[in-house]
Symmetry: C2
Subunit: 283 residues, 2 copies
Amino acid sequence: MEMWFSDRHTDGVKLSIRIEEQLFSAQSEFQRIDVLDSKEYGKILVVDGDLTLTEKDEFIYHEMITHVPFAVNPEIKDVLVMGGGDGGVVRELIKYESVRTIDVVEVDPLLVEVCRKYMPEIANSLTDERVTIFHEDGVKYIRSKADTYDLIIIDSPNPFGAGEGLFTKEFYGNCYNALHEDGIMINQNESPFYEEEAYQCQRMHKRILSTFPICKVYQAHLPSYPSGHWLFGFASKVYHPLNDLKKVEWKLLGVKTKYYEPRLHAGVFALPVYVEELLRDVE
Amino acid sequence: MEMWFSDRHTDGVKLSIRIEEQLFSAQSEFQRIDVLDSKEYGKILVVDGDLTLTEKDEFIYHEMITHVPFAVNPEIKDVLVMGGGDGGVVRELIKYESVRTIDVVEVDPLLVEVCRKYMPEIANSLTDERVTIFHEDGVKYIRSKADTYDLIIIDSPNPFGAGEGLFTKEFYGNCYNALHEDGIMINQNESPFYEEEAYQCQRMHKRILSTFPICKVYQAHLPSYPSGHWLFGFASKVYHPLNDLKKVEWKLLGVKTKYYEPRLHAGVFALPVYVEELLRDVE
């Protein structure tokens, strides 16, 4: 039997992965969750029909969303992860001894449960004693916080469905308030290539830019995501992602990685001409 | 009616693009050539069933295979293009006034004819007076050349089928001989992500490394190619791609681009940890 899962990239483009077995499927209070198993990508987490992570390339996404801010401020202590119920961001965070508390705001308890059962190598990180999981709406959670975190990572799927509220100007403003005076906010910033995502990418950039004094976009090669060209936003109150890079300090921490290295740091912020133009249009 | 073209990336992965119309299909003496039309990617050239170029993202491939060597030696005069019958590389080359001769060795006359008919915006470059097209086998063509070119661009599809001979050690040795003493050779170097291509990528790198004293690999975000993470090889007799970068000289030429810029130059050579390790294994 041949079974293929297709991830829609646009109305006219889809990436299909051959599936060995559907390991799990259920509708939670918030979304439909599927876990598929494949030879090429290993286990795949699918949320509301969209490919969310694969065992083969999740290291790229999770390393790039986590280590870039630590190479700028290697003394980050208190971290908030918005979404991230799969545990991938937390797995990277707990590599830092300096990190004291990790608050994970994941609205859907079933997502955490499913990832812990089917992807323990990623999700077992959530049992680290520094981690507290809040099964709450991130938009509400952040409103009451002030001057609390060194780093906020917005590990949200996309600007539709359950996570919609994590992409508004009000939300970014509340993140700003929840950060210490040298705080950094990182968000997944969609892809610049296909029109629909490029529009979302511009909209996010514009909103963050109007909230934080420093806001730069960086990129990674992420094969399982639409176009494979994925962007992240680095927003900060004081640190400049390039001028304040602490290459040696980060290297001395001895954090093991498979994608990120400070050697790549400047390069990931050097965006192709058409991407620079896309962002400049809203600056 | 729904019609989809699927490009096989591995046995378990394919990228599918919705097709409006099949514009052309024929078997030449060397290969099967198809031209498809799509809303998302514009016209698509398919050779032996493999996606070869799309109107939407060919600028990324062609700019990256062409402008990187010119930013290191902006005085390149005589250029050999191996393959490249679609005219994409030549369209970038003729942006340089310094370029005096462009020899294109494209074994298949039908490929040139089809591209000129269906993709004139790319292939009309081939009518430039500096261009000579040789419908010959590249492997044979290169054997008789010595100290002739400043730059050789190996714009070959992949190490299987018609272009197989363009990936041997003997061929790279002949390219070395065909270059002037400060010559540069650029090749498309496959992708590091899927196992089969990663192996080809290593094999090419090893062979070129044993032929040229300087050999570095660089990358681009190329959405329509497998994994979207594409590599190129920069091989040279004397120039180092980073130490000899001539940023200002290149900028002064006023070449218009949509992807490449010397601002990106160092970053494209900064490869992710897992790619560095893949290449180091054969160094």
